[in-house]
């Protein structure tokens, strides 16, 4: 507890290029960009595979392969190949980390929609894209959002590795703290990362509440 007070109570930790606000913004930058890129790759691919049923095996295999990649190892390899200087080396492993849960959940979400529902939608005269957009996605939304949430939390927690290759982010406190045996700093960094993950979790719960139809989440709405 004292260590936390030492760390968060010290005004020096709240300002400058090494302060909490700057590190937090850096952390959010890595995580946000990685997540966005992962969504741009995995969402359309997952929707397409889930809707058409084509390429499912490819998706599952490559998602599993990506999951098996050691994030830190990949990061070190990329830095060795590309050198440091940009944030690109840290984005690649984070994207690789975020794509599988988004892809698999989107695909599984669509595939799990009751076939009768699909049949009824086509039978009413909806076109393929209307079936996808107006029926399959709204019904599969809880799973799709779950995939995004898992991805976001993993990315936020794992973005600490950026510090190992000399980049910023909340990982800096942990790495630097360990290096200098400044334990309040290490613990403080870890707590910040954990808090951020918690906030992401809450954020998604809120998004889910707003975006998912009560008919799908089966929240009672009758007064």
């Amino acid at each position: 507890m004292n260590w936390l007070i030492d760390f968060f109570g010290n005004p020096d930790n709240w300002s400058g290029p090494d302060g909490i606000p700057v590190r937090l913004l850096e952390h959010l930058e890595f995580s946000g960009i990685s997540l966005l890129l992962a969504m741009l790759i995995a969402l359309p691919l997952g929707l397409w595979i889930g809707h058409t049923g084509k390429g499912a095996l490819f998706a599952i295999l490559s998602a599993n392969a990506a999951r098996a990649l050691p994030t830190l190892g990949l990061l070190v390899l990329i830095v060795l190949l590309m050198g440091v200087g940009t944030i690109v080396p840290v984005l690649i492993p984070l994207v690789a980390l975020a794509v599988p849960p988004i892809l698999v959940n989107t695909y599984e979400g669509l595939r799990g929609v009751d076939p009768d529902l699909r049949d009824a939608a086509y039978g009413m005269g909806l076109r393929g894209s209307e079936v996808l957009g107006r029926v399959l996605v709204p019904v599969a939304l809880p799973l799709i959002l779950l995939g995004l949430r898992i991805a976001a939390i993993q990315v936020v927690s794992t973005a600490t590795v950026a510090a190992y290759v000399g980049l910023g982010g909340l990982g800096r406190f942990i790495v630097d703290g360990l290096a200098t045996k400044d334990f309040p700093r290490t613990i403080g960094g870890a707590v910040l990362v954990a808090l951020l993950a918690l906030i992401v979790q809450l954020g998604f719960a809120l998004v889910q509440r707003v975006m998912v139809s009560p008919g799908v989440s089966q929240r009672q709405t009758i007064r």
Partner: protein, 367 residues
């Protein structure tokens, strides 16, 4: 009118689901496709709205080959009801019903008004409109399914085993609701079921299909029951064909006797002399109370004091001969009391009268 002209559906692996099917579904009637599983009844239905495309032959909808119409356009003009209702879980009931009107670009308010009108029409409480499908029972969901199919007022309705997933009591009420709706709307309905009793109850015409997708017989229910085309149809129709056929014979030909009813206020002595073993006792408003056995009458008093035997009634002009026979079997007298729509006795159908009417029906089978 929907016309199947030598329609065959053959899958890539060589399985033939529907084999050279030719038949006509007349406008404004319910035509039921019935048969065991694997007989191609659902495939035949789904070829009409091109959920499945025929391999050979043509399906003509009012003279137009359905294959020349783009499937979504075709389907928006045909109501479609499936077994599990298939309601969109994320949409409120009213929006579910308005699905096709929305697709057709109707103004939102007009579409919702139409949806409300239809919910009322299929017998749903309007409070349901703002609920979601999961909040409704299976029977209610199926009513919504029917309302949704009717929303854009399509002339044709395809119903694929719509009532098989609900319990028997709900099924009966949905069937009656459909017949009531059809009497108002006169849609051209193709109805698929594996339940021959449902087929006979609902169909103006029944097409019995055999495994392998061949038409075994197409006929109206009384003809089907009286003269099945072959052993397959006979077996499929099951037991009690003769009795079930009586449901389609009107009771109009049944001779009634008015002299066998007697008021409860009559004195025992006034009826003792009759040759009849049983008399139907009625109250002051002419409603049946029961049967009095003449040989067991007490020495004095009115008929109101007599212990009466149970009775059965049938509604004259509305019930069938089957109803009359059933009523007769519910009473030790062996006769049935005919009543009007208000339940007032019109007369008695005696065993002799029933015998005579049944004789005519039996004679008709050979004709």
């Amino acid at each position: 009118m929907i016309k199947f002209d030598r329609v065959t559906k053959r899958y890539a692996d060589g399985t033939v689901a529907v084999d050279d099917l030719s038949l006509e579904v007349p406008t404004g009637e319910i035509t039921v496709f019935v048969g065991p599983s694997g007989c191609g009844k659902t495939t035949s239905l789904r070829m009409i709205n091109r959920m499945i495309d025929a391999t050979e032959g043509q399906i003509l909808l009012d003279g137009v080959d359905v294959k020349t119409i783009d499937p979504p356009t075709l389907r928006r003009g045909i109501g479609y009801v499936i077994q599990q209702a298939g309601l969109f879980p994320h949409r409120k009931i009213v929006d579910n019903v308005a699905t096709v009107p929305y697709l057709l670009g109707w103004d939102r308010k007009k579409a919702r008004d139409r949806a409300m009108e239809l919910l009322e029409r299929v017998g749903l409480d309007l409070k349901m409109a703002d609920r979601y499908p999961f909040q409704l029972s299976g029977g209610q969901q199926q009513r919504v399914g029917v309302a949704r199919a009717l929303a854009a007022d399509p002339p044709v309705l395809l119903m694929d085993e719509p009532f098989s997933a609900v319990d028997p009591i709900v099924r009966t009420s949905l069937q009656e609701e459909l017949l009531r709706l059809q009497a108002e709307l006169n849609k051209t309905i193709v109805f698929v079921t594996h339940d021959i009793d449902e087929a006979i109850k609902l169909g103006d015409r029944v097409a019995v299909l055999r495994v392998g997708g061949r038409l075994a017989q197409l006929a109206d229910p009384p003809t089907l029951l009286a003269r099945p085309a072959d052993d397959f149809v006979r077996e499929f129709l099951g037991r009690d064909r003769g009795i079930r056929r009586l449901s389609f014979v009107s009771d109009e030909g049944l001779r009634l006797r008015a002299d066998l009813t007697v008021s409860a206020s009559a004195d025992v002595s006034t009826v003792r002399g009759t040759d009849e073993p049983w008399l139907a006792v009625v109250d002051g408003e002419n409603r049946p109370l029961g049967w009095a056995s003449v040989k067991d009458l007490p020495d004095a008093g009115t008929l109101a004091d007599v212990r009466l035997a149970p009775y059965g009634t049938f509604v004259r002009g509305r019930d069938s001969l089957r109803g009359a026979l059933d009523a007769a079997l519910l009473s030790p007298s062996g006769s049935a009391i005919a009543v009007d729509e208000e339940g007032r006795a019109e007369g008695v159908a005696t065993r002799e009268a029933l015998d005579e009417a049944l004789g005519k029906v039996a004679g008709g089978v050979g004709a």
